[in-house]
């Protein structure tokens, strides 16, 4: 890692340079101490001594100890070394211990795992509660440091594609990539030529191992696309509008012309759900076990697939619904409408949580990235826009495409794919959290038919494209998260593991009512009901038990407790309180005056009369 200061640096430390002539062979740990060890062996110089004395004085507060473990500027290798130099404890023989505690952890990595907002101040509360809060905060920080340390253990590195200087990566065609990469990766690129049952929708399972696709003319198939083993292939003899895996690859929901059907992995029809009719789009919320369906009749219906009940049927009142996507961060459904708005829905509310006016003219496609911060939309006005979903809903960037994109998809690492006609464009950003920059495409590819469905394969650098000519599996280096979590979604899981995971997942099925814009809201203090409770308590008691009682002087020793002195002491406290009040009000006043003054205006002679 770049952050760990390398002790065997090429640049020798200054002291050695000064010493010059005498060059003893050095051990790698004797970087800075050779001089002192040779020159002043009976006692180290005073400065060092002081440092050594300082060393054991560890700050008692756990808070600050945690802080000190994080290096502030990991990019500069010098600083940690400086910080470290006084540190090494030396044994009697004079040798230094080069390993002075845990290695520093870069701040950004810790930030990624941080769950608490440090900018928010702790509320004023009792010392007992406050100390508990502080302890909890310190613990959280320790956890995030530990999690950041564990990053070192991740086995895989993400892929990348770089052109030689001046070379545009968008010009690199798939055949070149296939030729350049290893055989195993090259096998991930394939074309299924299925012209007969024309345009295809496709869906990868959550582990990224399985692929299901359905053609407009009734062709439905599911396969393990890595081994190319076919699981089932049927023709439903009806138009297939959309297809989606449920929580595991064993179940498959197919939106057919009339009703919604559920098949198992052998193609056997398990259910026909007649309450969901004329479905155009499907979305599965894996943690809530909800299948969201958008219908031609304008209804957004949530079907709980674990119990087979319809949880909510919401009338969007916007006509035919055919653009739908989910926000994987908070399970909110985004619907695109023909009037250019995107509305955000949760099954707990009859009304949309938010409506965003995105385009002039209708919305053609919507996609949300895995962190839930960015939403990409494309409209009939040929614009492609990226919105910030964290509160403001403002467009971050926009770009006009000559044809306009009909399909959009985000990858796990934040790459954006857009299908325009028979061309797929992919844009990349700086990292996972940054939006893709729309100036220069990262990759482009022309297909043999018009794009009808797009999805990045989870945990593989592959983009699946369904089009009128069949299915194409494109190679997109750097698209996927390289390190999966074995307990969450494991592409290599055995049948037994899958069964156990299924039981666990069903046990912790999140109730549909908890879907809201901020999924962390449940961990925060419910201030509104707290205030309400406090109000009710005051009403019930008839007085405020928390008000400070008037000051009562304590009786003093004999002779000191005369009435006059009692009054004097009382007066003293009263005056002090009064002074405090005045001081506070004075502190507030000047701020107001400063605000009132116009900024940047030239001072006028008449200003002196302004009060």
């Amino acid at each position: 890692m770049e952050t760990v200061p390398k002790l065997g640096n090429n640049v020798p430390p200054k002291k050695d340079k000064l010493q010059g002539k005498k060059k003893k062979p050095r051990r790698y740990w004797e970087e800075e101490t050779t001089q002192t060890a040779a020159g002043a062996s009976p006692g180290p110089p005073r400065k060092r001594k002081r440092n050594r004395e300082l060393r054991p004085q560890k700050p008692k507060n756990t808070h600050s100890t945690k802080k000190s473990r994080i290096s502030k500027k990991p990019q500069v290798p010098k600083k940690p070394r400086e910080r470290r130099s006084p540190g090494p404890q030396r044994s009697l023989s004079g040798a230094q211990d080069p390993f002075t505690g845990p290695a520093p952890v870069p701040v950004e990595v810790v930030q990624k795992f941080c769950r608490i907002d440090k900018s928010k101040k702790l509320p004023r509360s009792e010392t007992k509660i406050r100390s508990r809060l502080e302890a909890a905060e310190a613990q959280e920080e320790e956890i995030s440091v530990k999690a950041a340390r564990s990053e070192l253990l991740l086995a895989e590195e993400p892929g990348f594609l770089e052109g030689e200087d001046g070379e545009d990566t968008a010009k690199i065609c798939q055949a070149d990539i296939v030729e350049a990469v290893d055989i195993a990766s090259a096998a991930k690129h394939f074309d299924l030529n299925l012209r007969q049952f024309g345009p295809y929708r496709l869906n990868y399972s959550r582990t990224g191992r399985h692929l299901a696709f359905g053609g407009r003319r009734g062709h439905v198939a599911a396969l393990d696309w890595v081994t190319k083993k076919l699981m089932c292939e049927i023709n439903v003899m009806e138009a297939v509008r959309d297809i989606r895996f449920l929580h595991s690859e064993a179940l498959l929901a197919v939106a057919q012309n009339r009703w919604l059907h559920i098949y198992d992995n052998q193609g056997i029809e398990l259910h026909c759900i007649r309450r969901c009719d004329r479905i155009t789009q499907l979305e599965f919320l894996p943690f809530h076990f909800l299948l969201a369906t958008a219908s031609e009749t304008g209804f957004l219906t949530y079907l709980d697939v674990s119990v087979g009940k319809i949880v909510a049927a919401l009338n969007a009142r916007a006509g035919r619904l055919n653009i739908m996507t989910q926000n994987p961060y908070n399970a909110v459904i985004h619907l695109g409408h023909s009037n250019g708005t995107v509305s955000l829905w949760s099954p707990a509310m009859k009304e949309p949580l938010a409506k965003i006016l995105c385009h002039r003219g209708g919305v053609r496609a919507v996609a949300v990235d895995s962190t839930g911060t960015h939403m990409a939309t494309s409209g009939l006005d040929h614009q492609l826009k990226i919105f910030d979903l964290r509160g403001t809903f403002q467009p971050l960037s926009a770009r006009t495409l000559p044809q306009g994109a009909g399909h959009l998809a985000f990858s796990q690492r934040g790459l954006l794919a857009a299908g325009t006609g028979d061309v797929v464009n992919i844009w990349a950003g700086q990292g996972k959290a940054s939006p893709p920059s729309l100036e220069q495409p990262y990759l482009t590819h022309r297909l043999s038919g018009h794009v009808h469905g797009l999805q990045f394969c989870p945990f593989e650098d592959v983009l699946g494209v369904g089009h009128s000519g069949g299915i194409t599996s494109m190679l997109v280096p750097g698209a996927a998260e390289p390190n999966f979590d074995g307990l969450e979604s494991n592409p290599y899981r055995s049948r037994k593991q899958r069964q156990e995971w299924e039981v666990k997942a069903l046990l912790e099925k999140v109730p549909a009512e908890l879907i809201c814009l901020d999924p962390r809201a449940l961990a925060e203090v419910d201030v509104i009901s707290l205030e309400q409770e406090e109000k009710e308590r005051l009403e019930r008691l008839g007085y405020d038990p928390d008000t400070k009682p008037p000051f009562q002087p304590k009786p003093k020793q004999k002779g000191r407790s005369s009435t006059a002195s009692l009054v004097k002491r009382k007066r003293k406290v009263m005056d002090e309180e009064h002074r405090d009040k005045v001081r506070q009000s004075l502190e507030q006043q000047p701020q107001k005056q400063e605000k009132a003054k116009p900024m940047g205006a030239r001072p006028s002679a008449l200003d002196r009369f302004v009060r």
């Binding site: 895989e156 280096p477 390190n483 979590d485 099925k509 999140v510 999924p519």
Partner: protein
């Protein structure tokens, strides 16, 4: 062109043979673990529900006594041994692992008023209504020998309680006065009185071992120092205190079981306000005992139930009752802090788990990790209304349930009356006294 594709070697993700463990690579990136909070909440909810499902605290009932159980004592060295005294003067020694009586002694005529073990566990003392103090060997008599006490002290008055010093060969009895005895002598080395009244219990402080506390029927709690000839100080409460118990971890804290249905935790240094009033019982509290951790205590009440209170909470966290259990006279928390014993009027000693849903026996490390994790989750989400409702719910016998309702109404009426009085009198003329201060009548030094 430089290109690298994500290409995993399946061998490093799949186990080699069937005998291996499955490989589970972890990545703690929060984006791979969405809905962290809602999922934890659901887990906490499930854990809370399961806790209630598995809450089966009753373990055993030890029957054999032919009259109500009046006192209990723990063995200081053996977890499995328990001593109990009954109202017919019989003392029984029980083995908890076998759940059997291993020895019985007709110790006194009339009640066995008090029983205590010596700190070394070799002998125990009983006092009874027949004005005697008897010392017995812990081991039974050998074959052919008669069951006889080691020593018998004949007193002048009835002794109502006894407690042994925690380190020295000294014990204290109470009756009309508090007597401190040397084990070797037949007369007390010191006897202390403050006023004239019958003292119902005396307890040695387990940490500051020369300190004693006693409670008498003239509503007071008196503290003594063994090294002085006179008592230290006393606090007078509204109603009579039945027993007190010292906190085994904090030397200056003790809890008093009061007739007014409440328990009062006092700080010895400031007796004018109790640290906490523990209220949940609906009848007089007869006995109290601390857990060895000093974090909780258990109380036995005349309302046929026992309750477990955290020291810093005014409401109980647990209530135990059975259909057959009558007025509970005495209660003890075992020294491994896992079980609770209570002796009641209908001649039985009952054994309960201190933590109602705890799984007994050896836990595997995975089980242990899972319970720890669930415990943490329950703590984290304990204030959420749904979880709070489930974890607080207890089934109560109808008599207790209706009495709680009744007492709530009475309390509300009293409070309303006080508010009205304040409202309709000259401002400042009626002082509002806090609930804690109200209960303490006086502190005398």
């Amino acid at each position: 062109m430089k290109v690298k594709m994500l290409s995993r070697n399946p061998d490093s993700y799949v186990r080699e043979t069937k005998l291996d463990l499955q490989r589970v690579p972890r990545n703690y990136d929060p984006t791979l673990h969405p809905f962290e909070v809602p999922r934890e909440y659901v887990r906490a909810l499930n854990a809370t529900k399961l806790e209630r499902v598995f809450a089966k605290p009753f373990l055993a009932s030890l029957d054999g006594h032919r009259d109500g159980v009046s006192c209990l004592a723990k063995h200081p060295k053996s977890l499995a041994t328990v001593l109990s005294g009954a109202c017919d003067g019989e003392v029984r020694i029980w083995n908890l692992t076998k759940r059997k009586c291993i020895r019985m002694i007709q110790a006194h005529e009339g009640f066995v008023r008090g029983i205590c073990t010596r700190f070394c566990g070799t002998s125990f003392f009983t006092v009874g209504d027949d004005k005697t103090v008897k010392q017995w060997k812990m081991d039974g008599p050998s074959y052919g020998e008669e069951e006889e006490p080691l020593h018998t002290i004949l007193g002048k008055t009835v002794y109502t309680g006894i407690d042994h010093h925690w380190k020295e060969a000294v014990f204290a009895t109470c009756g009309q006065q508090v007597d401190i005895w040397d084990e070797q002598r037949t007369s007390p080395i010191c006897s202390m009185t403050w006023g004239f009244d019958s003292i119902s219990s005396v307890k040695f402080n387990p940490i500051e071992t020369f300190l004693l506390g006693s409670c008498a029927s003239d509503r007071n709690i008196v503290l003594y120092d063994m090294r002085q000839a006179t008592p230290l100080k006393k606090v007078i409460l509204d109603m009579r205190t039945n027993t007190i118990c010292w906190n085994p971890m904090e030397a200056f804290i003790f809890t008093a079981a009061n007739e007014d249905y409440n328990l009062y935790t006092f700080d010895m240094r400031a007796l004018d306000t109790p640290v906490m009033i523990h209220m949940d019982h609906v009848s007089a509290v007869l006995d109290v005992d601390y857990s060895p951790t000093g974090k909780d205590f258990v109380s036995a009440s005349f309302d046929k139930s026992i309750r477990i209170f955290p020291v810093d909470r005014s409401r109980s966290r647990e209530v135990y009752h059975t259909k057959r259990m009558q007025h509970v006279i005495c209660v003890k928390w075992t020294s491994d802090s896992k079980y609770i014993m209570c002796g009641s009027d209908e001649m039985n000693i009952r054994l309960w788990k201190a933590n109602a849903s705890e799984k007994l026996g050896v836990l595997t490390s995975r089980e242990k990790a899972a319970t720890d994790y669930n415990q943490r989750l329950k703590e984290k989400f304990q204030h959420h209304p749904h979880i709070k409702r489930i974890s607080r719910h207890r089934h109560l016998p109808k008599s207790i349930y209706s009495q709680i309702q009744e007492q709530r109404i009475m309390k509300e009426a009293r409070r309303r009356k006080e508010l009205n009085r304040i409202k309709h009198s000259k401002p400042g003329s009626v002082q509002r006294v806090s609930e804690k201060k109200k209960r303490v009548v006086a502190v005398v030094k």
